[in-house]
């Protein structure tokens, strides 16, 4: 039904797709596997019409097609359900399903006809209980997923692409998702299914295509019978050479962070670990394993039960209200959350650099000093000379290019922006740095520099807690590794005792080694 041959997609600095083949038959569930950065997202964006391939051909039911836009792709019968559902929360279920192709005459919508048609589609999906007039914002994540699928069906899609549809779902909801997928395939619809969870792929998938470094390394493997071993070895052994700095020779210092029994319902439970001065501790796990949420909770940006102790001093999680509930009235008056964490010597380089860390319009200097303004001020009056001198020193120390601290930070490359975020936390005597995907969107050359900077920080006696979805990065950079799966720590050990293969096995198959 769908045949893609030799698809190439080039972005500035990277060849995201370097000759990908994909072959999907009507009525099958075709799984797409590959590590982060292997090219899965780019491939489905090509299919959805969001990217145009530089080379290669796409054939749909024997005819050459080249979807030029998402609207085009939908017209061809290709619907994509993204990880973050793209529903309009304020509109009703029916309005969402038929968004863009409403039941209308002369611009007046026919609500009754829309609701009837929506009900039909929902019933076909086995969910007649979702009422078409309900506002989507009130639905559960699982129900939203159903609405997304109903939207795909309302376009008479013959090929539905699902990008990690189970990441946001609870266990029984996944079973229901699978039931819907089976019904769709029974009607001849083809499904391209992306997931990192091998057990799901074994249960729902028919055939598997594996991507690595933008190339197809295996086409049409039987989903049920191919040994895990084989699949994982196809995905690993990446060609990209990572250059990691040598680990510290001396043993780590005293304990900087102690986390005990940290629990946030729905995200993670019973997480305990420590970070010592000069040590890099890595958290490995999939999206949805709770890795970023644990960082947020340690930082005080997310409410969680349990204990976070920084340098021997407890940072009580939760805001003033929780403190009052505990009967700790003095605690309620103290600044809680992030403000307190920062004052006590923590720093966070968040996952979404642009959305969560940077003031894009402002200069590199202003971005660097943002976390430590009081240090550059007397009675609120900024000492701009000292601020600039300090920023210049850091720009040179971290080799942020171009070496102009007055440049707006948005004109810098991803790697240099990330260095600016790290530079922010080099000021003011930090004791613990939390790094969430520090090399996302950073090209290969700049990565090695960032690794060296991060190791250099640890060598200065700072404790580092690192989250990365790239297993080789965690193994190469960290001293100690915690492997997370569905909100729990399933393995803890020395990074040197682990290899990529074993870690992938653990996070995908759930077997603690």
């Amino acid at each position: 039904m769908l045949v893609m041959r030799g698809i190439v997609k080039q972005f500035p600095g990277v060849r995201a797709l370097d000759g990908v083949d994909l072959d999907v038959q009507a009525g099958e569930v075709h799984c797409l596997l590959g590590q982060n950065g292997a090219g899965k997202s780019t491939l489905i964006k090509v299919l959805a019409g969001a990217h145009r391939p530089d080379e290669g051909t796409i054939e749909l039911n024997g005819a050459h097609v080249s979807p030029a836009s998402p609207v085009d792709a939908i017209r061809l019968g290709i619907a994509t359900i993204y990880q973050e559902l793209d529903l309009v929360e304020g509109l009703s279920v029916a309005e969402n399903i038929f968004l863009g192709h409403e039941h209308a005459r002369l611009g007046f919508t026919n609500r009754a006809a829309g609701n009837r048609a929506a009900h039909e589609v929902l019933a076909r999906l086995g969910h007649p209980e979702i009422r078409p007039a309900t506002e989507v914002g009130r639905l559960s994540p699982a129900a939203k997923q159903v609405v997304s699928m109903a939207r795909a069906l309302s376009h008479d899609a013959r090929l539905i692409v699902m990008d990690e549809p189970s990441a946001a779902l609870a266990h029984d909801e996944v079973a229901n998702l699978f039931r819907i997928i089976r019904e769709l395939t029974a009607q001849g619809v083809a499904v391209v299914y992306i997931s990192h969870r091998l057990e799901e792929i074994r249960e729902i998938g028919d055939r598997v295509t594996v991507l690595k470094d933008g190339r197809t390394v295996a086409v049409g493997l039987p989903a049920r019978d191919t040994p895990t071993n084989k699949i994982v070895s196809l995905m690993t052994g990446r060609n990209v050479e990572y250059v990691f700095p040598p680990r510290a020779a001396r043993p780590p210092g005293e304990e900087v962070l102690r986390v005990e029994d940290l629990t946030s319902p729905g995200a993670f439970a019973g997480v305990s670990f420590t970070v010592r001065a000069g040590e890099i501790v890595g958290l490995a796990g999939l999206v949805g394993s709770g890795r970023s949420e644990i960082l947020e909770a340690v930082y005080g940006a997310r409410d969680a039960a349990g204990h976070v102790v920084l340098g021997g001093e407890p940072l009580h999680p939760g805001g003033p209200l929780q403190a009052v509930r505990r009967g700790d009235l003095l605690g309620a008056l103290r600044r809680g959350g992030v403000v307190r964490s920062v004052r006590r010597g923590m720093g966070l380089a968040p996952e979404e650099r642009k959305a969560q860390a940077l003031l894009l319009d402002q200069s590199v200097t202003a971005n660097i000093t943002l976390g430590n303004l009081p240090e550059f001020a007397r009675l609120g009056w900024l000492d701009r000379g000292r601020e600039k001198a300090e920023a210049r020193r850091l720009v040179e120390a971290l080799d942020i290019r171009p070496r102009d601290p007055e440049r707006p930070v948005k004109t810098l490359s991803g790697g240099n922006q990330q260095k600016a975020v790290l530079a922010r936390w080099l000021l003011g005597g930090r004791r613990l740095l939390l790094l969430d995907e520090p090399t996302r969107g950073v090209d290969v050359g700049a990565r090695a520099e960032l690794y060296a900077v991060i190791r250099g920080l640890a060598d200065q006696g700072i404790g580092v807690l690192l989250v990365s979805s790239e297993v080789p990065e965690v193994l190469g950079l960290a001293d100690r590794v915690l492997v997370l799966r569905e909100g729990s720590v399933i393995h803890e050990g020395d990074a040197q005792d682990l290899d990529e293969h074993r870690v992938l096995d653990m996070i995908m198959d759930g077997r603690a080694a």
């Binding site: 940006a301 003031l359 009056w381 701009r384």
Partner: protein, 331 residues
Amino acid sequence: MTDTGNTSAVVAGPGALRRFGDMRHLGLLVALALLVLVGLVTRPDNFATASNLVSILSLAATIGVITVGATFVIIGGGIDLSVGAIMALASVWATTVATQEFGPFVMAVCAILVGTGAGLVNGLLIAYGRLVPFIATLAMLVAARGLAQRMSDRKTQLIQTGNSAIVELSTTRVLGIPLLVYIFALVVVLGWVLLNRTTFGRRTYAVGGNPEAARLAGIDVRRHTMLLYALSGLCCGIAAILIMARTTTGSSTHGDLYELDAIAAVIIGGTLLTGGRGTIIGSILGLLIFTLITNLFILNGLNTSDQLIAKGLIIVVAVLLQRRNLKERAP
């Protein structure tokens, strides 16, 4: 010593240009110059007189002080619709018989405290009560005016002769310019310093430009938001003193629609309504353009309705020009 290379325009073009204020101010200055030219041509005998210039500045002073506060709020990502009403309430409270007994100094302090207090209520509702700024300050607009009407019984309250020190702010002149214009200038200078030279100003840009990044950098975003509205209220209190001086009264009808003029001046001045970007100087230039238009229409005996139409057009044109400007500078 660190800056010498950048400030010399010959050596480093881009640095000097940035320093000059993003070129945007240049556009505003040109617009202002054009309006002055129109004034000189159409009214050669009346426009460039000392008395006309003084009346323009006196007119601009009251809204000008409010505009400084509004600039902070809008750069901080908010909006304050209640400025005119808060000023009216402050003027009424300061001119009640009970307050006037304590003399002019207490009256002035009273106006400032009432303004700051009302701003603080706005700030608490928005920062800690999680109300949308538009709604919280709309409620304050209605309620403050109502309270002002109640206190004054809808009557205009005259400043008693014993308290004429307040009125003297507008009648006493230094170098031919009334004192209240100096107060306006002082507020502008202080506002500029606060925005450009202090941690408070830096945080204002951060909170408005990317609240999430500000929060994760350890800035207490809520407390800062609250302080921004308190600051706006403080400016309304000062504006109340100026309007009492100019009109010799306190009244619940003072400052009607001032919020629109203040917001318009800020927007024309190049501050983004989405926050994170803007300047005090731009706002003041925007305000002077607005005031100058009013003055030109009056001098030429033109219809006030046409004047409103012209102002509406200017807002649209200014924003369209700035958008083009933004696009050009985007990477």
